[in-house]
Amino acid sequence: MAELLASGGTVEMARVVLDTGADAVYVGAKGWSRRRAQYEMSDDEVIASARYARSRGKILRVAFNTLPASGEIPLLLAKAAKFVREGVRDFILTDVGAMRALKDRFPETVIHASIGCTIVNAEDARFYKEAGATQVVTECRMDREEMRKIREEVGVGVEVLVHATTCYTYLGRCTMSSYTRQEWRFDDEGKNHFLGSPNRGGLCYRVCMTEWDQIGEDGSVEAGRVVLPNLAYFLVDDIPDLIDLGVTTIKIQGREYSVPLVGRMVRFYRDLIDSYLRDRSSFRMEPWKERMAEIVSARDSERRDKTAALISESGLPA
């Protein structure tokens, strides 16, 4: 049965998603995941949340999915060692070198290849399997046949994002944000937070979502107030197919959203999945679409405000 994985941007959010129906929660170690520190956890918070997850018979997965500097690898391994000692077993990584190093040091760990790996084909999945990953997050637009190949022929778990954004560029292969603004900021442990670089663990200023003018070679305006496509989506219709396909994990992104909203998302998907599994033959999608519409509206409102704030912070016109 597909695991329902949800975001734990705070200790409170981690508890709420586990209490609301998620089978697993992912959290970011401060400075080491694809969100700013505000949505990450201190070591003590990670450890406490992991204990809570275990007490509920569930899993906490720690995201170390930045692309660090070479000199930061020892910091990563030391932090991982601390978590492993406290019973954490599951990690999410992007850098293939860090992945290999973690697996070599702690063979008992379970490693998932992050969305930042931009896995677009089954051969990508084979590569990360050989590096030690047992599950891969598939690129948001991957078709079902490629997912099937990864699941059945490559032999690793398939993780699908059912709430996320389809960035204008391939997620994990974009540096538009840090091109616009990047600051190096080191924490007390010596970890650089690379503010402005989502790939390196800072934040994305969502510069694609400002209003651009498209200018031709001669300086004429070809199109005004262009916003590069960056859509937040929920997969609803696809859930039965994904379950039938045998995907391993259904993931809800959302560390930066409010706890009540993330709780509603988790409750929705828990109920939807359970309803489909109870009686696949008579399952009807229409009522679920109506229920989802309310969540979409709340999500869009929160996202709009956050996007405007991020663009403004980047220095671009919001």
Partner: protein
């Protein structure tokens, strides 16, 4: 970095997508050419797609005493992998010196073929650490170009500890992103009559400042260049002020990004860097010559940048000589 003895020779590499881009380009400043366009398979004359063009192009480069590399798609879907296999076979058969690889699946396909075609990891391969480069080396990589975000100091660690050559972007637009869908088309690639001609023209994205809605230059403008299935910097990466530092750090392989530029750009930028390398390698006093600066500025519509190399925003410029009207320095 080289442990001892004389340093290895410099290599100036140019990216060229097609015979059309090669046409009129003076290759004499360059030691190597990387053939093909990694963004889009449908680029007219794309060496990485029209494989029949490869033997003659590789032979011509070899005859001119230059290395010939061939690039591969940055984000191939599963349905594209058969073409990638054909590309690898064709590159090897034509005698290419290396395959530029951006995608880990492509790297793995290349490894599985067990053929003597080394891999050069490209700008979109997300090489950030020496450990990642080491893994890629196990798959046949002999050279890496770290991601644009990687600083010069970080690159030096990769060069020292990964056992592979490190290539540095010296000049040209910084690759910032690849996209699934062409931004310049309304319809699908196969059906839209604008494809593949739309990306032959220049398209800029500007925001803010007095230039928004007008020519993309001047104070206050934020500029990116849209190449259809990718986004590159609006400003030109430029390291000419810093060449002595780069050479003393041991870097020897430098790239000029020639995609979506004019023949004059490729020819004249290459000539400037060849001269500057000669001067920087001579051991004498190094300074950016006014004629170099003039040429670089003539070909730079939106100013220069090199901030990533120094741990700053990519679009910022660290230096003094070429600041000029670069308002965001």
């Amino acid at each position: 970095m080289p442990p001892s003895g004389s340093p290895p020779p410099l290599e100036l590499v140019l990216t060229v997508a097609s015979p059309q881009e090669l046409s009129g380009t003076d290759l004499s400043p360059y030691d190597a050419v990387c053939l093909g366009n990694t963004y889009c398979r449908r680029v007219e004359g794309n060496f990485a797609e029209e494989l029949g063009l490869l033997p003659a192009a590789v032979a011509a480069l070899h005859a001119a005493g230059k290395k010939a590399y061939v690039t591969s798609p940055a984000a191939p879907r599963g349905r594209d992998i058969p073409q990638v296999e054909r590309l690898i076979d064709a590159a090897a058969a034509s005698g290419a010196d290396a395959l530029e690889v951006h995608n880990m699946g492509v790297l793995r396909v290349l490894r599985e073929k067990r053929i003597p075609l080394p891999a050069h990891m490209g700008a979109y391969a997300n090489v950030y650490t020496h450990l990642a480069a080491q893994v890629m080396r196990e798959y046949g990589a002999v050279r890496v170009r770290p991601n644009a975000e990687v600083s010069l100091d970080e690159m030096a660690v990769i060069a020292r500890d990964a056992g592979v050559e490190v290539e540095v972007l010296a000049h040209g637009k910084i690759p910032l992103g690849i996209t699934e869908k062409c931004f310049l088309l309304e319809g699908t690639e196969g059906a839209d009559p604008m494809c593949p001609s739309a990306c032959r023209e220049e398209h800029w994205l500007t925001a803010g400042g007095p230039s928004a809605g007008a020519k993309p230059s001047g104070a206050g403008a934020w500029v990116l260049k849209n190449v259809g299935k990718g986004v590159v910097s609006g400003k030109d990466m430029c390291v000419i002020e810093h060449l002595p530092r780069l050479l003393s750090a041991g870097f020897r392989i430098f790239r000029v990004e020639g995609l979506y530029e004019t023949s004059a750009y490729r020819s004249e930028i290459g000539a400037v860097y060849r001269e500057s390398f000669f001067l920087a390698s001579s051991g004498g006093r190094y300074a950016v010559r006014p004629k170099w600066a003039k040429t670089l500025k003539e070909h730079s519509r939106n100013g220069f940048c090199n901030g990533y190399y120094f741990g700053k925003s990519g679009q910022s410029y660290v230096g003094t000589v070429l600041q000029g009207d670069n308002s965001r320095v």
